[in-house]
């Protein structure tokens, strides 16, 4: 494969950024769910 460095850089950065964002959203959601009482979230 020609330009493999650029192509793999594109794939790793894309999936890395997406995975980091997804992890941040899920972790923050879990943290806030623990902070709030069931009454707050209904």
């Amino acid at each position: 494969m020609n330009d493999a460095g650029y192509i793999f850089a594109g794939y790793f950065s894309t999936f890395g950024i997406l995975a980091a964002y997804a992890a941040w959203v899920v972790r923050r959601k879990r943290t806030l769910s623990r902070l709030l009482t069931p009454e707050d979230t209904t």
Binding site: D3, Y6, G10, Y11, I17, V25, L32, S33, P38
Partner: protein, 257 residues
């Protein structure tokens, strides 16, 4: 309240991971090299889906939700939070579109960036939606904040048709649309394995968007609830202080006499 997602969202998550892995495999291993672009075509299996989703789906839903928020008969926090969640994911996807496009440009054109009409209008769109997210952070009452955000979202979407038609109006360096144009819709310039890989990429990123929306909306809603609770706590504390202050004054008045 449980911190776990619903079974449907978990199934969606697994479907997303599987389809993204399959897309990467098809793009990097199965898809042939392009006659003109060579192996750099493999980057377009990420570039096209992220661009399509960010501009038409994410920002489209943000605009629709903003209109529904501004319309008095359908006004609700639900639409405001939907608009915010979709815009944030759209900014992420559009940022990735610019990043992958820059890498592709380095291989194909020899430069990461050029002031081409499509690239420039896309960069402007990116900045506009970052501005939308910034406007949402400007302190104000929730209603004022939501109204002005909705107006900014609708104004920002006016740039989407300009980005879409930039390749036809100005005809600079960026290539024409592969599917979404009058000429190409019935006669796309892609076929076989390459078309199927691109199609799978679009499906995978659409699933990813749906999964991210489910979580990001829930997070926005929890942040909203937390904000309400903190505001209520602050009001209660202030009232308690005022009550204590009133009590102290009464005592001070009583003691000298």
């Amino acid at each position: 309240m449980t911190t776990r997602s619903s079974p449907a969202v978990r199934v969606l998550g697994w479907l997303t991971v599987t389809s993204l892995a399959l897309t990467a495999f098809m793009a990097l291993v199965i898809s042939p090299r392009d006659v003109n672009m060579g192996d750099s075509v493999r980057l377009l299996y990420l570039h096209v889906p992220t661009a399509w989703l960010s501009m038409y789906v994410c920002f489209g839903i943000t605009t629709l939700a903003s209109v529904l928020y501004l319309w008095k008969r359908s006004r609700s926090r639900f639409w405001d939070l939907t608009a915010a969640a979709s815009a944030e994911i759209g900014v992420l996807f559009l940022g990735l579109t610019l990043l992958i496009g820059a890498i592709w440009g380095r291989i194909t054109w020899g430069v990461y960036w050029t002031w081409d009409a499509r690239l420039t209008t896309t960069a402007v769109l990116f900045v506009m939606y970052v501005g939308y997210l910034a406007v949402r952070k400007v302190p104000a009452s929730p209603e004022v904040q939501s109204k002005r955000s909705a107006i900014v979202a609708i104004a920002s979407f006016l740039n989407v048709p300009i980005v879409h038609f930039a390749v036809e109006w100005w005809r600079t360096l960026h290539q024409d649309a592969t599917f979404l144009s009058d000429r190409r819709l019935l006669d796309p310039q892609i076929g076989g394995t390459m078309a199927w890989t691109l199609f799978l990429g679009v499906i995978s990123f659409t699933l990813l968007y749906a999964w991210l929306m489910a979580h990001r909306f829930r997070l926005a809603w929890l942040e909203d609830r937390l904000g309400d609770r903190q505001l209520q706590s602050a009001i209660d504390e202030r009232r308690a202080e005022a009550g204590a202050g009133t009590g102290a004054t009464s005592k001070a008045e009583v003691i000298p006499s």
